[in-house]
């Protein structure tokens, strides 16, 4: 049997969900940059909730998502995810991140339990050579990466898996399934070069980057979906997954 994560969370310090997201929000022409890298496995397994299986190699993706327009105004987010399996489903377990929009930060925390700190700069820019990602928080640059000379690829080749967010729901630590839908209009891939990559600032103080993979950038119509599933982080997902509106398993 595949091994499980070693983290058994308590409610202490976790975001508290006031009302789960119930509305679908459709946003056109999102830019999404995925910076992907392997991390050493021992600490990664320890950081994953006990409900989830680690893949091997253990790896993370740092996702920057830029919406030039949204009901809450323009926003860019940057979130670090440790990849895992909930039973046999891919998920990106969110470790932490930043946003440049205070209202969006509150909306994500209230609706999905995803805590993205408000930072001075969270930016994803198209440059003549490709793309540049920047995050400055607390006066310190925690991410500066460039993707140079990315080549065009087919949108069908790019994957973005759903998020799994740890928060407190009804008084108990709970993994929230933050689901997306997207239609890719353009996709590119290229090597990422990092001037600064401070994953500790993104909520991963114990993880160590061990191997970099190519980055992808997409232009897509992006939809944030209502929450449909939650998982008990202390039980294997096969036993602890609950569809909302249905009672929890004994």
């Amino acid at each position: 049997m595949p091994i499980f994560g070693g983290y058994k969370p308590t409610a202490d310090g976790l975001p508290v969900i006031k009302a789960l997201a119930e509305d679908r929000i459709d946003l056109e022409n999102a830019q999404v940059l995925a910076l992907t890298f392997e991390v050493l496995s021992e600490a990664a397994i320890a950081a994953l909730p006990a409900a989830l299986h680690p893949p091997f190699p253990t790896y993370c993706s740092l996702i920057l998502r830029r919406h030039d327009d949204s009901p809450l105004g323009p926003v860019t987010t940057a979130e670090l995810r440790l990849h895992a399996r909930a039973t046999n489903h891919y998920v990106g377990y969110v470790l932490g991140g930043f946003t440049d929009n205070e209202r969006v930060s509150a909306w994500l925390e209230n609706g999905y339990g995803k805590r993205l700190a408000v930072a001075e700069t969270v930016s994803l820019k198209k440059r003549h050579y490709g793309f540049e990602a920047n995050v400055v928080a607390g006066g310190k640059t925690v991410l500066n990466a460039v993707v140079e000379n990315p080549t065009q690829i087919a949108g069908v080749d790019v994957l973005h898996v759903q998020n799994s967010v740890l928060a407190v729901l009804d008084g108990a630590p709970t993994l929230i399934a933050e689901e997306f839908e997207f239609q890719i209009k353009e996709a590119r891939r290229g090597p990422a070069h990092y001037h600064t990559l401070d994953i500790a600032a993104f909520g991963a103080p114990t993880l160590t980057v061990s191997n970099h993979l190519p980055a992808t950038w997409i232009l897509a119509d992006w939809s944030y979906m209502p929450v449909r599933f939650v998982i008990d982080p202390l039980k294997p997902a096969v036993a602890g997954t609950r569809k909302l509106g249905q009672p929890a398993a004994a």
């Binding site: 595949p2 392997e38 091997f56 790896y59 399996r85 087919a154 790019v158 993979l213 096969v238």
Partner: protein
């Protein structure tokens, strides 16, 4: 229709000092029995780093051991990863020739390119290039075997003129195959005049469509070497007198396999590339294994249950035009060894006779010089 057995050699955690040795011993015992029972092939994969799912990085050694303990069963290296960072093509040719010699001409040579980032990334191989390296290597191998000396100046490797020795026992060379996981690879197989070693679980209609496409293209192929026009597919096998018991255990076997497979990191998962347009083996097993060890019911093509059901299932497969079914007998040792052996015996006694003469014929290799 021929029958083979197929090994990933999966090893369940926890890994004690005896765990891997015992799993290998079980597999070898199954191979010896398969030989006695008249199975035609034993195939062993080449996988690297795939924890629990496959601890079989050196199938040539496993297969040499099997060959030494058996008389008739063919040994299939299924597959050699044709990626230079993992296997230099000269070493593939050399190892294959030696295995063919020591097995008395019983070798089948599978080829492929790996579908996981775990493996490709581990060897720092570029997923974008593996289709090209496979195509180059699969055309070079027969020449290394057939030509007294060989030189190569290609994209993925080059070599000055050398005698690649020894030469295989089978002439002109052992049958060549390619692993078929992604749709369309069977057409690549046909274009090269090599066998299609199916490693996914299609439905009957899809399999029939693929076999037809393969046979059609084969007529106009540009053979890499001697034409091998066989199509094989893979299945699970658990045969029991009681159909309900057979199905239940068989579903546990296939579900366990699928659940282990779902934890692999496919190349496509992290490396966006047209070279890996599909997840290969994984999507179907993922669909069928949302719960470890359990599935809602046996799919119509799964060879689990009592002999009557399995015979009917395999007759359906035979009607699709395939030449061989290779069976996975266990996964993560979820089925006790004694039950695996009993399943094989019952299958050989009650099912095999519906498809072939019960007495196994010694395989006579094509006459060696």
């Amino acid at each position: 229709m021929k029958f083979g057995i197929f090994y990933e050699i999966s090893v369940p955690r926890p890994w004690g000092p005896e765990t891997e040795r015992q799993v290998y011993a079980n597999c070898i015992e199954q191979c010896v029995l398969a030989d006695q029972l008249g199975f035609d092939h034993v195939w062993a994969v080449e996988h690297h780093f795939l924890e629990e799912y496959s601890h079989c990085p050196a199938p040539e050694i496993f297969l040499a051991t099997v060959a030494a303990k058996t008389q008739n069963i063919r040994v299939g290296h299924g597959i050699n990863v044709c990626v230079p960072e993992i296997n230099h093509p000269i070493r593939i040719a050399e190892r294959s020739a030696v295995l063919d010699l020591v097995s008395g001409g019983r070798l089948d040579v599978g080829t492929g390119r790996s579908a996981t980032w775990t493996e490709l990334g581990g060897f720092r191989a570029n997923p974008d290039l593996t289709k090209a390296t496979w195509a180059e290597i699969v055309r070079a191998l027969p020449k290394m075997w057939m030509n007294e000396r060989y030189a190569h100046d290609g994209v993925c490797f080059s070599m000055p003129e050398r005698a690649v020795i020894p030469k295989p026992y089978q002439k002109p060379h052992p049958p060549l195959w390619v692993a078929v996981t992604s749709p369309g690879t069977e057409i690549d197989a046909a274009e090269h005049g090599i066998g299609a070693l199916g490693l996914t679980f299609n439905d009957f209609a899809e399999q029939e469509r693929r076999v037809k496409g393969y046979k059609k293209v084969l007529q106009n192929c540009e053979p890499a070497g001697a034409v091998n026009d066989q199509v094989a597919t893979v299945n699970f096998l658990y045969c029991h007198e009681d159909n309900a018991v057979g199905q239940k255990t068989g579903l546990r076997l296939s579900g366990t396999f699928g659940y282990a497979a779902a934890q692999l990191v496919s190349a496509r998962e992290v490396y966006a590339s047209p070279s890996y347009g599909s997840f290969g083996l994984l999507p179907q097993v993922r669909r069928q294994s949302a719960v470890p060890g359990e599935m809602p019911g046996p799919p119509p093509g799964l060879a689990v249950g009592d002999p009557k059901r399995i015979t009917e299932v395999l007759k359906n497969w035979e009607s699709t035009g395939i030449d061989c079914v290779n069976f996975l007998l266990n996964a993560l040792e979820t089925v006790p060894q004694a039950e695996v052996l009993a399943s094989m015996r019952l299958f050989a006694k009650e099912v095999m006779p519906h498809f072939k003469a019960p007495a196994a014929k010694p395989k006579t290799p094509v006459a060696a010089e």
